[in-house]
C-alpha cells in the first residue's frame, strides 16, 4: 500500500489512492497545505430554477459575507447559444452569470459586433439581468437545473491580491 498521508514541518499532504505521497507530483495530491487556498465549499445551491432571479447563498444558516467575490463553480441545463442575426449578436442561453459577494444571477449580453463584418469593438456589452433577450423567446433561455458551489477562494478584480492570498 502506498504512503498516503505525510505530516511534517511543512504541513500536511494527502495523495490520491495508489500514489506515494512522499514522491507524488502536485497533480497526484488531493490536499497540499503548501498552497494558500483550497476548494472549501462555503455555500451552494441544488437543482434551482432561477429564471431571471438571483440566488442568495448567504441566507441558509445566516452565513457571514466573506468580504470578497468568491469563485463559484456552476452547472445548469442549457449550455450554448450565440446568435448573430443581421449584424447584431447576442449571447443568451450560454451559461452566463453575474457574481457578487452574496449572490449568483443569470445574465445575457449583446456583444455589440459591427454591422458589416469585421471585428467587434466590444465597447458596449449590454449586460442584462436574466436571460430574456428580446429577440430570443425559447425556454432554453431560462437558468434551470442550476447547481453551484461557492468556494472560499477570492475571484474578482481587486481581490486576487496578497491581502487574500497571503
Amino acid at each position: 500500500m502506498a504512503n498516503r498521508v505525510v505530516i511534517d514541518s511543512n504541513g500536511i499532504k494527502v495523495s490520491k489512492p495508489g500514489q506515494n505521497v512522499l514522491t507524488a507530483s502536485n497533480q497526484n495530491l488531493i490536499f497540499d497545505s503548501t498552497k494558500v487556498r483550497t476548494g472549501q465549499i462555503y455555500a451552494g445551491g441544488t437543482n434551482l430554477n432561477l429564471g431571471d432571479s438571483s440566488s442568495n447563498f448567504l441566507t441558509t444558516s445566516s452565513k457571514a459575507n466573506l468580504g470578497y467575490i468568491p469563485l463559484v463553480c456552476i452547472s445548469e441545463k442549457n449550455n450554448g447559444n450565440r446568435n448573430f442575426n443581421s449584424g447584431v449578436g447576442w449571447v443568451s442561453n450560454i451559461s452566463s452569470w453575474e457574481f457578487t459577494s452574496s449572490t449568483v444571477k443569470p445574465v445575457s449580453f449583446e456583444p455589440d459586433p459591427p454591422n458589416s463584418g469585421g471585428t467587434s469593438g466590444m465597447d458596449s456589452a449590454h449586460i442584462n439581468d436574466g436571460r430574456n433577450y428580446a429577440s430570443i423567446s425559447t425556454a432554453n433561455e431560462d437558468a434551470t437545473n442550476v447547481n453551484y458551489a461557492v468556494l472560499r477562494i477570492p475571484c474578482a478584480y481587486g481581490y486576487m491580491t496578497s491581502t487574500y492570498f497571503g
Binding site: Q40, I41, N47
Partner: protein, 144 residues
C-alpha cells in the same frame, strides 16, 4: 515558523485544522484556514470541492454527440447519495447550430443520476465533442 496543523481544540470544538503558510493555526481567522472542520462559528464548511473525470461512451476521454442526438455517459464508483453535478467542456467537431445561429457550441443536460449523465446536442448539423467531469451534490437542501 507558524503553527500550521492542529489536531485538537479550536474555538471550543475538536477537530483537524490546517492554516495557510505563515498563519498561526491557533489564532488565525477562519478564512485563513486551508482546511477546517465546522467549528460552530457563523460560517460553515460543507466539504472540499472535488471533481471526478468521466470517460465517454466509447471509453475515451471525449464523447462525440451528433446533431440533435442524446448521449448517455455512464458513471461508476461514485456512491454520491445526494446526486451528481455535471460539468462539461466541449467544441464543435463540425457543423453549426444552423439558421441565424452561427459557430456556437450548444448542448443541454438531460436526466442526471448517480449512475449516468444525459447530454443532448442542440446543433442542427455536425458533431459536438464534449469531455465531462462531475462533482457530488454536497447537501440535500435547495440551498446549503
Amino acid at each position: 515558523m507558524a503553527n500550521r496543523v492542529l489536531i485538537g481544540t479550536r474555538n471550543s470544538q475538536e477537530g483537524i485544522y490546517v492554516s495557510r503558510p505563515g498563519k498561526n493555526v491557533l489564532t488565525c481567522s477562519d478564512d485563513e484556514l486551508l482546511f477546517r472542520m465546522d467549528d460552530g462559528a457563523s460560517g460553515t464548511i460543507k466539504g472540499l470541492y472535488q471533481l471526478q473525470p468521466i470517460s465517454g461512451t466509447n471509453s475515451t476521454s471525449t464523447t462525440s454527440v451528433s446533431a440533435g442526438a442524446t448521449a448517455t455517459v455512464s458513471i461508476t464508483d461514485f456512491s454520491w447519495t445526494n446526486g451528481v453535478v455535471p460539468y462539461a467542456l466541449g467544441s464543435i467537431g463540425s457543423g453549426s447550430a444552423g439558421g441565424s445561429i452561427s459557430e456556437t457550441m450548444g448542448f443541454t443536460f438531460g436526466t442526471i443520476s448517480t449512475s449516468s449523465i444525459q447530454l443532448t446536442s442542440t446543433l442542427s448539423s455536425g458533431t459536438l465533442n464534449v469531455t465531462l467531469a462531475a462533482s457530488p451534490v454536497m447537501f440535500s437542501g435547495a440551498l446549503f
